[in-house]
């Protein structure tokens, strides 16, 4: 490798060196996360079937193991960061794409739906947030929601911006019974759970501020919470979100198994044939020209959903399941235009990606970027 000659080349070389050091630090952090993982996770040999292992002892140890899992380390912190980013993005996406129609859909033009919308049982203050009597007041709430969602997405004052985002998101949703879809439902439920997680710990403005000592610290007079409470709340949120996605897949799969079009492999065609779900009609028509892809996709969707919880147990099948189901959701977004639903499901699927996998992936990415830059420096 030739010595960098110009100032630019010297700077690039320094950046490449810094990237390599960062990668090393990330790998070490991953090792630290692994280190903090309980010894029991590394020791997979003990099972009820092993010679000399007392089944009763193993079963009696399970509650302690579960408690230790839930109360020592916050799990899936990177996945929760990705969920935060995606959820904030989803809300912004809806607000931006529906901006021109906002008064028609949720504002003063939607008063006709009030006889039905107000009977759903939400507390009155949700309906008060997005006012239907005054377009200006409605717009203020609309812009506030966008600001809160942006702050939440980037992880600034994460817990506060998350709560406000959820509050305002419900406020706009309850204004009409005609516009919500599955993505709104799953986002509404799981965002409430996720607010109990440490969503701002990774890849956030809060993390950046915290590293520089600029985030507000807990006042001295405020009593300190027990060390186990944070991880317990965080991991309980994780369990609830993970359970929710599994519930959706399994219940949906059982329903599909009762449908003629699902069993005969043609359901994907009918989904793609409806005008309301065809942002690009030519693309949908192209996708359904041949029998095999339609039948294969129909069955793959059903099988993946039905077997999802089982596939999660073993790492190779977990990886395959996550890749497959992510592909299904990307297809739903692309072909049916249901991006809010697709992205929400992808965000929840990513909760099954371990922190050390994220650390490895980021380190790999940085390494490849550094290698690319180095090659550019070297090549004439």
């Amino acid at each position: 490798m030739t010595e960098p000659q110009t100032r630019r080349e010297r700077r690039r070389a320094e950046e490449a060196e810094a990237a390599l050091q960062s990668e090393t630090a990330a790998v070490e952090e991953g090792a630290a996360i692994e280190e903090a993982a309980p010894i029991k996770e590394k020791d997979t040999t003990a099972s009820p079937d092993d010679e000399g292992v007392d089944l009763g002892e193993w079963v009696r140890a399970l509650p302690d193991e579960a408690v230790r899992w839930a109360t020592t380390v916050k799990r899936a912190t990177y996945s929760f960061a990705v969920l935060r980013i995606i959820y904030g993005f989803i809300i912004l996406l809806v607000l931006v794409t529906s901006f021109a129609d906002r008064q028609y859909l949720w504002g003063i033009g939607s008063r006709f739906i009030d006889p039905v919308a107000t009977t759903r049982g939400y507390p009155f203050f949700f309906e008060a947030i997005f006012n239907k009597s005054n377009a200006v007041v409605f717009d203020i709430a609309y812009f506030l929601l966008a600001i809160f969602a942006l702050a939440f997405m980037v992880g600034f004052l994460t817990r506060l911006s998350g709560m406000l985002t959820l509050l305002f998101w419900i406020g706009v949703s309850v204004n009409s019974t005609l516009l919500t879809n599955g993505g709104d439902t799953v986002l509404r439920i799981t965002l409430l759970f996720a607010l109990f997680a440490d969503l701002g710990r990774r890849w956030s403005v809060d993390e950046w501020l915290r590293s520089r000592g600029r985030l507000l610290k807990r006042p001295e007079w405020m009593p300190r919470t027990p060390d186990w409470l944070g991880p317990l709340a965080h991991n309980t949120a994780l369990m609830l979100c993970a359970y929710q996605i599994i519930l959706i897949y399994v219940s949906s799969a059982f329903l599909k198994l009762q449908g003629v079009e699902w069993l005969n492999g043609t359901a994907v065609y009918y989904s793609l044939a409806l005008d309301v779900f065809r942002p690009f009609p030519w693309l949908n028509d192209l996708a359904t020209m041949w029998d095999f892809p339609v039948i294969a996709l129909t069955w793959m969707t059903m099988v993946l959903q039905l077997l999802f919880p089982v596939l999660l147990v073993w790492r190779p099948t977990r990886i395959a399941a996550l890749i497959g189901i992510t592909g299904v959701h990307l297809g739903i977004g692309l072909f049916l235009g249901l991006w809010p639903f697709s992205l929400a499901m992808i965000a929840l699927d990513f909760l099954f990606v371990r922190d050390r996998t994220w650390v490895w992936a980021v380190a790999e990415l940085k390494k490849r970027v550094a290698q690319f830059r180095e090659r550019k420096l070297v090549s004439p």
């Binding site: 129609d101 609830l240 329903l255 449908g259």
Partner: protein, 243 residues
């Protein structure tokens, strides 16, 4: 405590998604605790996948300068809404408005018995002493209840009929630019070819039309609300010039 909370939610959510039956009925009271926030149903596209394109179409009448009652053509509210966002990879929620509206109305309609449906398909307008008036909400409910023993279904349909009338009145006023006197709507259903015939040029199925009777238009039209509908009509490429 955390385990209890998780378990509680598991039971609650299962109560929502499981099929109707004894277990669901037994959990009904408990499930009510979580409504509406945790209500959920994952039966979209399954088991019965939607196999038809549906549209809400409306027609309106108004009095011209000579006092004659003039009728418009049938206008597709669904086309108006989707035209504004055609080709968008992430369309606005507008594509769901009239689509879900007519679906919800039709769902309530098919809950009625045959005699009740005939009433809903008929006009609610009556001529009294040379003046046109409409059956009141209470009168419609009474009439429908006399024909069946399903007051809940009747109430739901009547409520939805009133809001459909208001929605269609605003849209018709915005589209036609007239002082609308009467409105009516219909569900237009067009089923795409079946999988085996998907590459055929010819349409396999005839459109299905379910038409509902005339209603007197909503009297009070608020200018600021009308302006919103006029903007939607404008962006959808519609308007009075398209008559």
């Amino acid at each position: 405590m955390a385990a209890i909370l998780v378990l509680l939610y598991v039971v609650l959510s299962v109560a929502y998604v499981m099929p109707p039956g004894n277990v669901k009925n037994a959990l009904g009271g408990y499930a009510a605790l979580g409504r509406p926030y945790f209500s959920q149903s994952w039966n979209v596209f399954a088991p019965n996948i939607l196999k038809a394109n549906i549209e809400l179409e409306f027609q309106a009448q108004w009095y011209d300068s000579s006092g004659e009652l003039v009728s418009s053509d049938w206008i597709s509210a669904t086309d108006l809404e989707t035209a504004a966002v055609a080709g968008w990879p992430v369309p606005s929620r507008i594509v769901k408005q009239s689509w879900n509206l007519i679906k919800a109305y039709n769902t309530r309609f098919i809950e009625l018995n045959a005699d009740q449906r005939d009433v809903v398909r008929d006009t609610f307008i009556r001529s009294v002493g040379g003046e046109f008036t409409t059956l009141s909400t209470e009168a419609v409910e009474e009439k429908l209840n006399d024909l069946g023993d399903n007051p809940g279904d009747v109430a739901r349909l009547v409520r939805y009929d009133a809001l459909m009338k208001e929605y269609v009145t605003y849209l018709a006023t915005a589209y036609l630019g007239e002082d609308i006197a009467r409105v009516r709507w219909r569900l237009f259903t067009q089923r795409p070819n079946d999988f085996e015939h998907r590459l055929d040029e010819a349409q396999q199925f005839e459109p299905d039309i379910r038409q509902f009777g005339w209603r007197l238009a909503t009297e009070r039209i608020l200018p600021e609300v009308l302006a919103v509908y006029e903007e939607v009509v404008r962006r959808g490429g519609g308007g009075a010039s398209d008559d």
